[in-house]
């Protein structure tokens, strides 16, 4: 058997995708012009799939901070913080994030993926239990492969399903099974844009004495009066033992973090391999992220309002035209399409019309659904979004997804 034979099934599916003419997984942004526009295939396109929720990638103050940092401290750190030491700016960034959440400790990672991978796999070990939502992000699933703990999945956004699983761990051998339980949830789920019923989940965790970790990758800035995410908007910041997040979305750069009040938290710095054995963030990134966090603190309310106005414009506009969307409003808007080929065809027709969104197909999606995944930006204009709705309505009618010959979109959840 050849090395690549095991991927035969995926290769077939991938070939199907490519024969449609454009390959969504190898799209080239010839030039990114702004948070909402890029040149693709020689044409200026509207981008509605970049997770750039506050549009800070081109914020002049963040850009200037990065430029100044490069001039002062060079382009890279060329090593990990364990081997080469921390720059004072790494430490300052950690203090600022901890302060932002009102938590005692913060650890910064080189990506959000590594933050989840490292923290989750290290927090639990032999004899412990890791309980994850069925629709968890790949970084959480990968952490499950690295840990010695037993991993149990519960139904997506279903506190009763978590309760049943924690109860079974308690029931085992007629008494409490030894070992810690860590429950992992996400603020906003990246494919359909729905939020965890966090308050209910926290109640269940308290009942069984389980630790709670929330990944706020898509909810930083977008939720909560101060933009801290779902933990804040659900009023359970103090009950969430660990909050993980990323710099790659709302903060417009790259990197990840975890905050906690646990007094022994810093031991993770010498036990977490995804922290210890990779180079630390370069000065320019640390500087732009620190500035972006300042923007969130000072102008967050205004940007959040703009973002949510845009969410309502797009979501309501698409629903009015008969599209089937994710279950709730959110900065990620997932549009259900009946199958993989329809999703790819729709995606491609939108690109031809000058609009870039993401396409998400199995196995990267929950329950085998096929989606156009749109993510909104505070600086999208109403006109841009109205135009997008018109274009999608036209394509939707042509393809028979909506309109007179209404087809039922598959993959209901």
């Amino acid at each position: 058997m050849g090395l690549f034979d095991r991927h035969a099934g995926l290769l077939d599916a991938y070939r199907d995708v490519r024969t449609t003419g454009a390959d969504p997984f190898q799209i080239r942004m010839e030039r990114v012009l702004s948070p909402t526009e890029a040149i693709i295939n020689g044409k200026t396109c509207l981008t509605v799939g970049t997770n750039n929720y506050f549009g800070l990638t081109f914020d002049p103050s963040c850009m200037q901070a990065a430029i100044d940092a490069i001039q002062a401290e060079g382009t890279g750190t060329t090593g990990s913080r364990i081997a080469n030491g921390s720059y004072s700016e790494h430490v300052a960034l950690e203090q600022e994030i901890a302060e932002f959440y009102g938590k005692k400790h913060c650890m910064v990672f080189t990506t959000g993926y590594q933050a989840n991978l490292g923290v989750i796999s290290t927090l639990v070990g032999q004899d412990d239990f890791l309980l994850i939502d069925a629709d968890s992000h790949a970084s959480i699933y990968d952490a499950c492969k690295q840990t010695q703990a037993e991993v149990v999945r519960f139904k997506h956004n279903d506190p009763a399903s978590l309760d049943a699983r924690l109860r079974r761990l308690k029931d085992k051998n007629g008494g409490d099974k030894p070992g810690n339980r860590l429950v992992v949830l996400e603020g906003i789920y990246s494919m359909l844009g729905d939020s965890a019923p966090l308050k209910e989940f926290v109640e269940v965790c308290k009942k069984y004495g389980a630790y709670v970790l929330v990944d706020e990758a898509h909810s930083l800035g977008a939720l909560g009066d101060n933009g801290r995410g779902l933990c804040e908007s659900a009023g359970v910041l103090d009950d969430c033992h660990f909050i993980v997040g990323t710099f790659s979305k709302t903060l417009g750069a790259i990197g990840g973090y975890c905050v906690s009040n646990d007094p022994d938290f810093d031991i993770l710095r010498v036990t977490t391999r995804a922290y210890m054995f990779t180079a630390s963030l370069p000065p320019s990134i640390v500087a732009s992220v620190r500035q972006a966090l300042r923007v969130v603190r000072t102008r967050g309310a205004e940007l959040r309002q703009q973002l949510w106005d845009n969410v309502h414009t797009l979501y309501d506009g698409l629903v009015a035209q008969g599209f089937k969307l994710g279950p709730e409003y959110g900065p990620v808007v997932g549009v259900h399409l009946p199958d993989r080929m329809m999703a790819i065809g729709f995606w491609r027709a939108m690109l031809d019309a000058g609009i870039y969104v993401n396409v998400a197909v199995p196995p990267a999606t929950p329950n085998g659904v096929s989606l156009l995944r749109c993510s909104l930006c505070a600086v999208h204009t109403k006109e841009q979004l109205q135009h997008m709705i018109e274009v999608m309505t036209g394509i939707g009618r042509q393809m028979g997804v909506i309109g007179p010959q209404l087809k039922v979109a598959g993959g209901s959840r």
Binding site: A134, E150, S161, R168, P362
Partner: protein, 97 residues
Amino acid sequence: MIVENDGTSVLLRRVPVRGEVMAEICTQLAPFRTSDTQVIRGETAISKDLAIDSLAVMDMVMELEDRFDVSIPMNVVAEIQTVDELADTILKLAARR
């Protein structure tokens, strides 16, 4: 026998007999039969013989867990190949309860 409805599926809290477990697995796997494997048997290899991906396997396991009130850790699921092995695992966990 205590049968309790938790809203999504009927929960069986006594130790099930093998026939019940096999029947439930076959029901869960029925949608994934192929032209080569139209009848599901004990020796049917779940991922190999049926048109089911790993995510759907895990979803099916979640349904079985709720039906028989057991938790099958993901690393244990990964080792299971056949319908018989899956049934054995459920029976073993239910008996230990």
